[in-house]
C-alpha cells in the first residue's frame, strides 16, 4: 500500500480558515481574558468545555461514515446487479472472511482496554482537578450568579424566555415524552443500523436541531450569563453592579400602543378579555404556521428550490413516499412535539432577546 500523504483538500482548507477566523475574532473581541479563563477553567465547567470538543469530533465521525454509506447507496441504486452481489457495507470485506467473530477475545479485549483507558482518564482528571467546595450553605447569603449544575443550565436559561411552570416543568416533560415518542413517529424503515443522512435527513436533522439547541442553551448559561443573570459576551468583565432596565413589553401592549394600534383603535386589546382572545389567536396561529413550516421542511426538495422561476415548494418524491407511510396519529404527534419544543424555544428566544417581548398570551391564570 502506498503511504498516505497529507493532501490539502477544500474541506481541510475550509476547516483551517474557520479556525484562523475564530482565533482572529477572539483576539479582536475578547477584552478580559482573565474573566474568560475564570469561567472556562472553573472545575464544574470543564465538562461543558470538553463537550465543545467532543460533540464536533463525534459528529464528524458519524457524518464521515454516513457519507461513505450514502456513496455506496447511490452506487447500488444505479446498479441493481451490483446490489444483488455486494455485501452492502462500506466496511471492507473479502470473500472467505468470517462474517462473525468470537466475543472472547475480540470484543472482551476491547471492553477491557476501554475500562483501563477510562480509569486512567479519571485518575488523571481527579489528581489534577479538585471538585469544587464553596463556603458552608448559608440561606442568608445568595450566590450571584446562582447557577444550577451545567447539565441543567439549559432549563435555567429557559427561565428567561418562559415562566417557571413552562421552563421547569412543562418543557422538560415535553422533551422527555417527545424523546420517547421519537421512534414511534419515525415511519421511515430505512437506515436501521447504519449511518446515513441521505435516507434519513429529516429525522436526523430534527434530533440534531434539538440536541444543538440544548447544548446552545447550556453554553449561553455557562459562558454568557453573569451576575443577575445578565448577558455578558464571552470575554466581557462580569460587572457585579451592572443593572439592566427591563423594558420588556407584552405583545398585545406592543401592538395596542404602536402607531398601527392607535390608528386602528386597538385599545380593546389591553382589556382582560381582549388580551386573552388575542393571545389565544397568536398561539393558535403559531401552531398553524409552525405546522405548515414543518410540513414544508419534511417534504421539500432543497436542490430544486429556485427563485427564478419562482419555485418554493418542490416536493422530494422519496420524502413524499415516507409521508404516505406516516399515519395521521404519527404525523400529529410529531407536529405537536416539534412545534411545542423545537420551534417554540428558538422563536421565544428571538422574541425575547431580539424584540424584548415578554408574553404573547396573558391570562388571569397563566402567561406564555
Amino acid at each position: 500500500m502506498a503511504k498516505r500523504r497529507f493532501n490539502l483538500t477544500k474541506g481541510k482548507l475550509l476547516g483551517l480558515g474557520v479556525l484562523v477566523a475564530v482565533v482572529v475574532l477572539a483576539v479582536l473581541v475578547v477584552e478580559d481574558w482573565q474573566q474568560l479563563w475564570k469561567i472556562s477553567s472553573a472545575p464544574d465547567n470543564v465538562p461543558i468545555v470538553a463537550m465543545l470538543f467532543l460533540v464536533p469530533i463525534f459528529t464528524w465521525m458519524g457524518v464521515r461514515q454516513s457519507l461513505a454509506n450514502d456513496r455506496l447507496i447511490r452506487e447500488l441504486e444505479q446498479d441493481p446487479k451490483l446490489a444483488k452481489t455486494h455485501h452492502r457495507k462500506a466496511e471492507p470485506w473479502r470473500p472467505g472472511w468470517a462474517r462473525e467473530l468470537h466475543v472472547w477475545p475480540y470484543l472482551v479485549r476491547i471492553e477491557f482496554l476501554v475500562t483501563v483507558i477510562v480509569t486512567v482518564i479519571l485518575f488523571v482528571w481527579s489528581i489534577t482537578l479538585n471538585a469544587p467546595l464553596e463556603e458552608p450553605a448559608n440561606p442568608n447569603l445568595t450566590m450571584n450568579p446562582s447557577k444550577a449544575p451545567w447539565y441543567f443550565l439549559g432549563l435555567q436559561e429557559m427561565l428567561v424566555y418562559f415562566d417557571p411552570w413552562i421552563a421547569g416543568v412543562v418543557m422538560p416533560s415535553l422533551i422527555m415524552v417527545g424523546l420517547m415518542v421519537f421512534p414511534y413517529v419515525d415511519s421511515n424503515p430505512l437506515g436501521n443500523g447504519y449511518y446515513t443522512l441521505r435516507q434519513r435527513r429529516f429525522a436526523v436533522g430534527m434530533f440534531a436541531v434539538g440536541f444543538l439547541q440544548w447544548i446552545l442553551l447550556i453554553v449561553i448559561g455557562t459562558f454568557i450569563r453573569g451576575p443577575g443573570w445578565i448577558w455578558f459576551w464571552p470575554g466581557q468583565t462580569w460587572d457585579h453592579n451592572a443593572v439592566v432596565f427591563d423594558k420588556n413589553i407584552d405583545l398585545h401592549d406592543l401592538i395596542a400602543t404602536s402607531w398601527i394600534g392607535k390608528t386602528l383603535h386597538l385599545g380593546f386589546l389591553q382589556s382582560n378579555l381582549g388580551k386573552w382572545i388575542f393571545g389565544a389567536l397568536v398561539v393558535g396561529g403559531f401552531y398553524i404556521v409552525g405546522a405548515l413550516f414543518f410540513h414544508w421542511l419534511m417534504t421539500v426538495d432543497f436542490k430544486r428550490i429556485s427563485l427564478r422561476p419562482l419555485r418554493l415548494f418542490p416536493r422530494d418524491p422519496f420524502e413524499q413516499k415516507l409521508l404516505e407511510r406516516t399515519s395521521i396519529l404519527q404525523y400529529v404527534m410529531f407536529q405537536f412535539f416539534a412545534i411545542s419544543v423545537l420551534l417554540a424555544m428558538p422563536v421565544k428566544l428571538i422574541l425575547r432577546l431580539g424584540l424584548t417581548i415578554k408574553y404573547v398570551w396573558v391570562t388571569p391564570w397563566f402567561n406564555i
Binding site: 463525534f58 477510562v118 482528571w125 447539565y151 417557571p164 443500523g193
Partner: protein, 312 residues
C-alpha cells in the same frame, strides 16, 4: 494410588516369610517403608499441583480451559461466565469497530460501577445531617487517606457519565438503532438518561455548601410552579396548594432547603435512584440481547426495497 497396594502387600508377605528379624526392627522397617510410600505419594501429588488447572478447586470455579482457543472453549468462556453472559458467543465482525459503536453505552455502565464503588466508600465518611455534612467533606479532603482523590473521582465520573449518556443517545439516533424492534428499549434508555441527571442533581446538595444549596434552591423553586401541584403554578392556588403541601414540599420534606432536604436527597441519591436505575439497566441490557444485539453495522437497504406498510 492403585498400583501401590499390591506392592505393600508383597512387602508384608516377604517380611512374614523371612521371619528372622526381631519385632523391633520389623516395626522400624514398617514405619520406614510406609514413610517412603507416603513420600512417593506426596511427590506424585505435588507434581499434579504444578498444573493448577487440573485441580478440583480450579475446576469447581472455572468450567472452561482458557489455554486452548478452539471455538467451543471461546464460546463457553462467554456463556458460562456470569459477568460476560450478557454477550452473545459470536457477533458480527463489523460490530466491534469503534467508529461505529463509539463504546459510549459500555463506558456509561462502567462509570456507573465506578460511581457505585467510590460512592460506597464515600458513605463510610459521610453523615447526612446539617451539623456534620460539610465537616465530613472537609475531613474527607484533608484527613482521610486518598479522600480527596475519592471525592474528585466520584464527581468527575458523574459529570463524565452525563456526557457519555448523551453521546450514546446521539449515536443511536445517527445509526437509526431506535427503529423496530428496538423502540421500547429506546424509551427505557430515555428513562435511564433522566435517572442519570437526577442522580447527579441529588448528589449536588450533599456537600451542603453554597454551590449545592443554591443550585438545589433554584432547581426546586421551579417545582413550586408545577401546574396544579405547585403553590405558584397555574391553577395551583385554586386547587388549594400552599408552600406547605405542594409538590416542592414533598421533594424537600419542608418549605425550605434544610436538614430534611439533605436527608431526602441523600436517600434518593444513595438508595432510591440507584435501585430504580439498576432495574431499568437490567431491562435495557436484556432487551439489547433479545432484540438481536447491537443494531449494526447492518447492510444498507435501498429505497426500492421498502416494503408496503402492513395494514392491520
Amino acid at each position: 494410588m492403585e498400583p501401590e497396594r499390591p506392592d505393600q502387600a508383597e512387602l508384608k508377605e516377604t517380611k512374614q516369610l523371612t521371619g528372622g528379624e526381631t519385632a523391633g526392627s520389623s516395626l522400624v522397617g514398617k514405619v520406614r517403608d510406609s514413610g517412603m510410600a507416603l513420600k512417593e505419594r506426596a511427590v506424585e501429588e505435588v507434581k499434579s499441583y504444578k498444573d493448577p488447572q487440573n485441580t478440583q478447586l480450579w475446576k469447581s470455579i472455572f468450567r472452561v480451559s482458557h489455554d486452548r482457543s478452539d471455538p467451543r472453549n471461546r464460546s463457553l468462556a462467554i456463556l458460562s461466565n456470569v459477568f460476560l453472559h450478557l454477550h452473545p458467543a459470536k457477533i458480527n465482525r463489523d460490530a466491534v469497530r469503534y467508529p461505529f459503536t463509539w463504546g459510549m453505552g459500555g463506558i456509561t455502565f462502567y462509570l456507573f460501577i465506578v460511581l457505585t464503588f467510590s460512592g460506597v466508600l464515600l458513605m463510610f465518611y459521610y453523615h447526612p445531617t446539617k451539623a456534620d455534612a460539610f465537616k465530613d467533606i472537609l475531613y474527607l479532603e484533608h484527613d482521610v487517606p486518598f479522600g480527596k482523590l475519592l471525592r474528585n473521582m466520584h464527581r468527575w465520573a458523574a459529570h463524565l457519565m452525563v456526557i457519555t449518556t448523551w453521546l450514546h443517545m446521539f449515536r443511536v439516533v445517527l445509526t437509526g438503532s431506535y427503529k423496530r424492534p428496538r423502540e421500547f428499549n429506546w424509551g427505557v434508555g430515555v428513562v435511564l438518561l433522566v435517572l442519570t441527571l437526577l442522580l447527579s442533581f441529588t448528589g449536588y446538595l450533599l456537600p451542603d455548601d453554597q454551590l449545592g444549596f443554591w443550585a438545589v434552591t433554584v432547581g426546586t423553586n421551579m417545582a413550586r410552579a408545577t401546574p396544579m401541584l405547585g403553590s405558584e403554578g397555574p391553577f395551583g392556588v385554586q386547587l388549594g396548594m400552599t408552600p406547605f403541601n405542594d409538590v416542592r414540599f414533598g421533594l424537600l420534606g419542608g418549605s425550605i432547603v434544610d436538614s430534611n432536604a439533605l436527608l431526602r436527597s441523600y436517600i434518593w441519591h444513595c438508595i432510591g435512584i440507584p435501585l430504580v436505575a439498576s432495574i431499568f439497566m437490567a431491562v435495557h441490557f436484556w432487551r439489547i440481547r433479545k432484540d438481536g444485539g447491537i443494531s449494526g453495522p447492518a447492510p444498507v437497504m435501498l429505497e426500492s426495497e421498502m416494503k408496503a406498510v402492513k395494514k392491520n
